[in-house]
Structure formats: structure tokens, C-alpha cells
Symmetry: C3
Subunit: 147 residues, 3 copies
């Protein structure tokens, strides 16, 4: 039979996780003063903004599509890790891509970012993306509990 | 030491918020008999359908893109408020846009709808949208607890 | 006054549903070895990957768009049912479509998949989809509690 103290401790734990549904915002480039956060955590769920794979030197997509795929996935990883999560916490991904012939190229890079089972994903053709990017990637991650 | 009554009250509160994960559907234009809800609330999370910024007189996008941006954001706001939430409860937004040159125009209007930190967002090029709209906006909001 | 046993049982029930936020992955075609899951359940929420409506014989979209709409919705339904849910558990749907003139055709098929209120939905034009599909559909479902 648990003591009343144990019961109470458990109750406090549960109430905290239920009620303290904190929101955390992360803005990767605050100096650019753009109207979006790179990631928003609410409770255990992280909403990851659409990211591009731009060359940090030029602000443009690199000439090599494979490099661009790596840059965009690095950008996603940076957001995830900012919230003390890993890529394997991602449950859903949307890839918007201006050239569907790059499906294989993207996948080759993409699969190196995950250790376990892959998130659900949609790979969608897009007529055009900001900054003439080939890929824009967004997603949702959920923090694993009791690691 | 809390009384057993207090413990029990807390338990009921917690169970209610856990188990009574109510679903609420809102349909903005029921007479149009279209197969979607404008918003669906499940637990604390509101899924907001894709909205267009149409002129209510003509059912078409207005000639001015800035007016269209305002109309689409007003439509999103209407759904959010229908569920007793505010724009600042939105955590994720997708903007689909047929003309990426309107990025600045959209942002200028968009930022006036938020008081606090901005939601995560993807701004995606689209070849075409229903009714020749320039913008379609969808999103997810999460109700703040213990306001 | 509830007994301590009843209190304890309730606590265990609550803790379980809070802490045991299990993840389940379903891959419809594991032999294809593609880097995504068809559906990922985390807690009560199911993230459904983008699905196409391909003819299982040819691996291509059927010539008839209405048949394609049915195939894509069947694919979504298969995922949902794999997780012991029904179509009415879906709360949000995105339809990406390469020909907006098919809006009516898609809707006619789509509405037959739901018994109750419709999910929120975005119906978005897309320049092109994988395998020359006309439709790609993704979504989110939430398991109803206390059925």
C-alpha cells in the first residue's frame, strides 16, 4: 500500500505534466525579423517551420542538389536539437520539391538522418519555392517520455 | 497533508481533462454542403482547414493582393475565435501562394494578426489554387491552459 | 468516500495513459525499402503519410480519375484501420491535386468515406506529383477515447 506521500507526489507529477503545457519558441535568425518561429514546442509536440537548404555564404541554394538536401536536413536537425530532441522524435515530415527527378537524391541524404523507424512523410511536387530552393521541409516531432 | 477530499477533487479534474477528449466541428458555410469542416477541435488542439481570401460579394479573390491576404487571415481568425482561442494560440501555419513575389505583401498583413511570438510557418509556392486564389492558409492551434 | 485501492487504480490508469506514450510505426510496403512509414501513432495521434492512388497491377495512376480518388482514399483507410481507427477519427486532411477541375470528382468519392462530421481539409493545387499521380492525400487522425 503506498503512503499518502507517494500518492501525493505522483499526483503532483501528473498535474504538472498535464497543466504546465509550456510553449517555447525558437527563432534561428532573429536579426532577419521575419514573422515566423523556426520551431514551436507546445507540451510534448514540436512544430517545425518550413526550412530551406541555403548556402550560408550566399543565401542561395548551392549548385549541387545533394548538398542542398543535406543543408535543409541540417537545418531541421538544428531545430530539433535546440529542443533537446533527436531526429528520431520526428513523426511527420513534408518535403516540397521543385524537381521530382531529385526524389532518389533526396532520399539518399534523408535516410542518413535517422537511426530508427522513419517518420510518416509526404513528398510533394511544387511549382516554385522561395529563393529558388529545390526543397522545403517541415515537420512535427514529439518528445519521447521516460527516455 | 491534503485531505482525501482534495485528493479526490484533483483526481477528477485530471481524469476529466484526460478522458473527456471532446471533438467539436465548426462549418463556416453549412449551406454550401462541402465535405470538410472549417475547424476541428480535439482535446486542446484545433485543426484549421485551408482557407481562401475571397470577396464575400463576388466569391472571387479581390483584385488587390493585400486585401486578399487580409481576407484569408480574417477567415483563419474567425475559426480560431469560434473555438474561444486567439491568433496567438496558433502554433503552425502553412501558406500556399501562387506568386512568391507576394511574400513581402503577405508578411506585412500577416504580422498584424499576432501579439506575441509567431507560429512556426511554411510559405510554399503553388502552381494554382481553387477559385484562382493567390493564397491558401491552414494551420494548427493549441488552447492555452490555465489562462 | 473512495477506498485507497480505488484511488490507486485510478492513478495507475492515468499515469499509464500519460507516460506510456507509445510509438507505433506501420510500413505498408516494407519490401520497397523507402525511407518513410505509412503511418506513425504517438499517444493517441496518428500521422498518415502522403498516399497516392496507384493501380496495384501497373504501379501507375489509373486512367479514370474517379478510380484514382477511390484508390487513394482506400490507401488512407487501410492505414487508419491498421491502427484500429475509423475514417471518422481523422481530424485533418491535405489533398494535393494536379488538376483543380477534378475538385468535384474527388469530393464525390471523398464524402462516401465518412459517416459523421468531416475532418478539416485543405485542397491544394500542385504542379506535379510522384508517379504522375493526380492526387496525393495525407492526414492526421486522433483515436477516440472511451469508445
Amino acid at each position: 500500500m503506498p503512503s499518502r506521500f507517494a500518492l501525493l507526489a505522483l499526483l503532483v507529477l501528473i498535474s504538472t505534466s498535464l497543466l504546465a503545457q509550456e510553449r517555447e519558441y525558437y527563432v534561428a535568425s532573429p536579426h532577419r525579423n521575419l514573422p515566423f518561429s523556426s520551431g514551436v514546442l507546445v507540451g510534448d509536440t514540436l512544430y517545425i517551420a518550413g526550412h530551406l537548404g541555403l548556402d550560408p555564404q550566399t543565401g542561395k541554394p548551392p549548385s549541387d542538389a545533394e548538398v542542398e538536401a543535406r543543408l535543409v536536413m541540417d537545418a531541421i536537425k538544428k531545430v530539433v536539437e535546440k529542443f533537446d530532441m533527436t531526429m528520431d522524435d520526428i513523426v511527420m515530415i513534408e518535403v516540397h520539391c521543385t524537381d521530382l527527378d531529385l526524389y532518389g537524391t533526396f532520399n539518399k541524404v534523408y535516410r542518413t538522418y535517422f537511426q530508427g523507424a522513419f517518420p510518416a512523410r509526404a513528398f510533394l511536387g511544387s511549382a516554385m519555392l522561395l529563393r529558388d530552393a529545390r526543397f522545403e521541409v517541415l515537420g512535427i516531432a514529439v518528445k519521447k517520455k521516460l527516455p
